[in-house]
Amino acid sequence: MKPVAQPTPDTQAWFDRIDQGSLTVPRCQDCDHRFLYPRMCCPACGSRAVELVQASGRGVVDSFVVNHRGPQGFAEDAPYVLALIRLEEGPRLMAHVQVEDLTSARVDLPVVVTFTERGDRRVVQFIPAEVA
């Protein structure tokens, strides 16, 4: 069984939106900084005025590895692309990039968000923009 995030009070709202199929990015209402992970204050200025804003869902592969082994729940999926996605809004997220052909995974590959079901929760994933 693959794990799902166990949200803490400061990340709950962000994961709730994921479960609704919506990717958001925390934004500071004082300095406009956008960041991840979600937290109760802005890491750029310390303001507590933080809101979740809708993300475009577009990004690029900043870097990645192709896991040829996997921990429990993932071993049967290997090899799979474990990537850091640079969102259009600025911050990065870790996710899988779901590709038919592993050789199509590359640095700077444009990707768009998708969501996969995991139990009664959803998990953020990405697919190449050209496939979408």
């Binding site: 166990q6 992970y37 870097s63 921990p71 911050p91 990065r92 997220l93 870790m94």
Partner: protein, 383 residues
């Protein structure tokens, strides 16, 4: 008073054995190394009034040895914790909080005797944002930026493979190293793929072992009939993101850069003064990032620098001369072993001794570039 050269390492030793030690718990490995380091310093446990450790709590190490300390440092920020212990001891001893500090490491990384399994807590940021994607632990999380590095700077797989090849050359000169047979670029690239571009040969060993240091003021060091004191000329520490996805850069480490350059500044040494270098090599890319972050080479130059044998035996900047985590030993929190090799090189007692090392720099990392600590160590001629 200034901190440069204010304290000295007067005792340094590893556990009696390294490797597979199913008959020793992690705590025993701390204590075994501590007794060896105290013997090296010509001191007894009762001479110690400060204890620092990571993995086991310093109060537990102190109690086992019958020490009632007046200074405790339980800093645990991963494998570089021991660099931070030295830095904190530098301040504490100089300020008069204590006189003699014992720093211990012990880890049953391979046999797992008396050890909890490593796993991020499910409610930690890494547990929430990264574990659900099935990283293969450190082997995929730590080197995840290497593709970006290759893309940015044009590092080839062959250049990258030279890191383990060169370190194995150092290990071949060290009878205590676990892996001593020479390897080629071909051997590295044909070793099993773990998390492409990382092959097994790019990954550190997993072993059991320990190490310990004894520090005191430079003044008091002169009166101890130990091996030649090794002076702490500079020290620095830093940290950044709790998750890999939050690191400022995927092609460098802000924590290494901040901590390392602070150490060099405090030590008042130029890069050309450094005769020996240790950079924590949990995976083969870390020394490359470190060479650049510490300023020994420019951005993007480290892979060619290593491939052209500048860090190899006979090269101008000997690096990871014990064989490193890749070939010597790696218990999990390897930083202590990197410090031990720097001490040996400055003392002139290393198995693969480099000629005339008066200044050695040793840099550790914790987590996946989340923390870093650096030390600049010097011989008597530097103070």
């Amino acid at each position: 008073m200034g901190l440069r050269g204010a304290i000295a390492i007067v005792g340094a030793a590893e556990s009696t054995d390294l490797g597979k030690l199913p008959d020793m718990s992690a705590l025993q490995l701390h204590v075994d190394a501590a007794l060896n380091a105290l013997a090296d310093a010509g001191l007894k446990p009762s001479d110690v009034d400060g204890v620092a450790s990571a993995g086991e709590l310093p109060n537990d190490v102190a109690d086992y040895l019958g020490i009632v300390p007046e200074y405790l440092d339980a800093t645990n920020v991963g494998g570089c914790s021991y660099m931070l212990h030295v830095r904190h001891a530098m301040a504490a001893i100089t300020a008069g909080l204590c006189e003699t500090v014992l720093i211990t490491h012990g880890e049953s990384g391979r046999s797992r005797v008396g050890m909890q399994p490593w796993a991020p807590a499910p409610q930690s940021m890494m547990g929430q944002f990264e574990v659900p994607y099935g990283p293969v632990g450190a082997p995929s999380l730590f080197p995840i930026g290497v593709r970006r590095y290759m893309d940015t700077y044009g590092m080839t797989e062959e250049q990258f493979a030279m890191v383990p090849v060169v370190q194995r050359e150092w290990a071949a000169r060290n009878p205590r190293a676990k892996l001593r047979d020479p390897i080629t670029v071909e051997d590295v690239l044909s070793s099993p793929v773990i998390a492409d571009p990382i092959h097994l040969a790019h990954c550190c060993l997993v072993t059991d072992g320990g190490g310990a240091l004894v520090l005191t003021s430079a003044e008091r060091a002169k009166d101890l009939c130990s091996s030649a004191p090794v002076y702490v000329l500079g020290a620095g520490e830093s940290s950044e993101s709790s998750v890999v996805s939050g690191l400022a850069s995927l092609t460098s480490s802000r924590a290494i850069e901040r901590g390392g350059r602070a150490a060099l500044r405090q030590a008042e040494v130029a890069h050309d003064d450094v005769g020996h270098l240790m950079i924590y090599d949990a995976f083969a890319h870390v020394p490359l990032y470190g060479l650049e972050d510490l300023g020994f080479v420019g951005r993007g130059e480290a892979a060619a620098f290593v491939a052209e044998r500048n860090t190899a035996p006979g090269g101008r900047l000997p690096l990871n001369t014990n064989g490193g985590g890749l070939s010597y030993t790696h218990t999990g929190m390897y930083g202590m072993f990197a410090i031990q090799e720097s001490v040996r090189q400055v003392r002139g007692t290393a198995p693969a001794q480099v000629d005339g090392v008066d200044v050695s720099v040793v840099t550790g990392v914790g987590g996946m570039f989340m923390t870093s600590g650096s030390l600049v160590l010097g011989s008597a001629s530097t103070v």
